[in-house]
């Protein structure tokens, strides 16, 4: 069992999320950086649908009452166990009665904690993923609070995983994000496309798990008119009339009334979600389909 001593900033339980419910406006949820979350589970030999903890900006402090095999991936939160520094992207043995702790991130934004075994979390609509907007998944549909406990049953034949460590990604060096054209890309005239592709953007601090607002050079559309609502999903880049793109994220809407000028694929979206506020990047058009 683990217990949350300090919750960090919006630390939540996530898993592969909810599939097949977008028709009813229920978003997939799940980790903002799927690559890092999947790596965390793989490192401790968990099945890929096992829950993980997603940490944002700041590390939680967690007490382990029993020994466990864990891994830490994603953002660098300078993790320590009982004060001793431990590396990311590597399976680590934690002794019973020890304390995992860390700092504010120094590289990237989202960190993942995987713990070997079976997590005892109730599934809502097929998933344990926390979806704070509608308050379901995780524990009471909210980010973790001080004193909350999670029961994790050790696997019967638990052994130390063989997968090697992986070199952490330098998220602070991300300065370009690739996207594909969306269905309304052609609403942007050439000159507007050029502005979008040549301007440096950053992510607004008012972003959340539903969507990330970009800051930078606006590309307002003339003759905006009435655009009927159309289908959207995580990674879709919308362009509201103020001309500043919004990237929809894992807890985002399933339909929207703004033109869909692009879409960022899952792997690239994981990178995008590691970009810190103020970190500048270029939007790069990927012409492959």
């Amino acid at each position: 069992m683990i217990e949350i001593i300090k919750p960090g900033l919006l630390t939540s339980i996530q898993d592969e999320g909810r599939s097949g419910l977008a028709y009813y406006a229920i978003p997939p949820s799940g980790p903002l950086d799927k690559t890092a979350a999947a790596l965390a589970n793989a490192l401790v030999a968990n099945s890929k649908e096992t829950s993980v903890l997603e940490c944002n900006f700041s590390a939680p402090t967690i007490h382990f009452s029993e020994s466990a095999i864990i891994s830490l991936t994603g953002a660098e939160m300078n993790w320590t166990i009982d004060g001793e520094k431990i590396p990311r992207n590597k399976a680590i043995e934690v002794n019973a009665n020890s304390l995992l702790s860390g700092s504010f991130t120094t590289n990237g934004v989202r960190a993942y904690i995987a713990i070997q075994g079976k997590w005892r979390i109730e599934k809502i609509l097929g998933s344990t993923a926390t979806y704070a907007y509608a308050q379901f998944g995780g524990i009471h549909g909210k980010s973790l609070k001080k004193g909350e406990q999670i029961k994790i049953e050790k696997a019967m034949n638990a052994s130390f995983p063989k997968l090697n460590s992986e070199q952490p990604i330098d998220y602070n060096a991300i300065d370009q994000i690739y996207f594909h054209k969306g269905p309304e890309w052609n609403l942007l005239k050439d000159s507007k496309q050029e502005i979008l592709l040549k301007s440096k953007y950053s992510i607004s601090p008012s972003s959340n798990r539903m969507g990330a607002k970009l800051m930078g050079e606006p590309v307002p559309l003339l003759d905006f008119g009435q655009i009927p609502s159309s289908g959207v999903f995580p990674g879709v880049i919308q362009l509201p009339p103020n001309g500043l793109p919004i990237v929809l994220l894992q807890d985002g809407p399933t339909t929207g009334g703004y033109p869909r000028i692009g879409v960022i694929d899952d792997i690239e979206l994981g990178k995008f979600n590691q970009i810190r506020p103020g970190q500048q990047f270029l939007l790069m058009l990927n012409n492959e389909i």
């Binding site: 419910l21 809502i124 594909h180 269905p183 655009i227 009927p228 609502s229 399933t254 339909t255």
Partner: protein, 242 residues
Amino acid sequence: MKSVQLNNLVFEIHPFGPAAFSLQPKSTTASQDLLRIGEQLFKQKIKGAHDVISSEKDIVIRFNSKDKALVIQALEQLSSDSSKFKSLQTNSETTIYKFPIYFDEGLDWSLVEKHTLQSKSAIVQQLKASSFKIAMYGFMPGFLYLNGLPETLHCPRKSDPRQNLPAGSIGIGGPYLGCYNLSSPGGWQIIGQTPIVLFDKNKVPPILFSVEDSLKIETIDKNQFEQLQKSKIDLITYNTND
């Protein structure tokens, strides 16, 4: 494959990144017909696809990029053999529900009055005389797109959405009346708030009334609004109580 024919409607298939298609009708199509086909496509399941999102502009099909060929094959089959595209049974059972709204403190009344060139009281009268039905689910869980808004009351959405609207907010967005059943960000022109609960997170679909049913708006004052909100009453109970 560039197009697909469903229920005698031809759709262009637009790639939407590596793991989705946007199916868009080739000719002008009533949004109701489009939503109906989206519903059929969702309910009969397309091999290889994990999600179908039906809207008034297009039908979005999502899949794992490795299953793209499977999805194309399934669409080809539906297109070549119209008998494979099962039509849905329509349920003739309909209920008309009273739907209480408190209009006085709507945030965007001045904008709506200016845009429609009508007074607030004239607008409320028109809303009360109308009958509203679910046009589609979408946006966020619990949000409802309702059909039935008189054309003279259509208003554009806001250019910069609000960060947070209280649960029950009622707004105008384009040709729809919308209801935010959970507190959420939103870009519609807010004219009122309902104290009634329409959403159940453990239900699929999570809305307490069905696409066949209608809502009739009734106006309530601040005192009634506060009483009803405190009681957390849901739509069905509200309508069976008196």
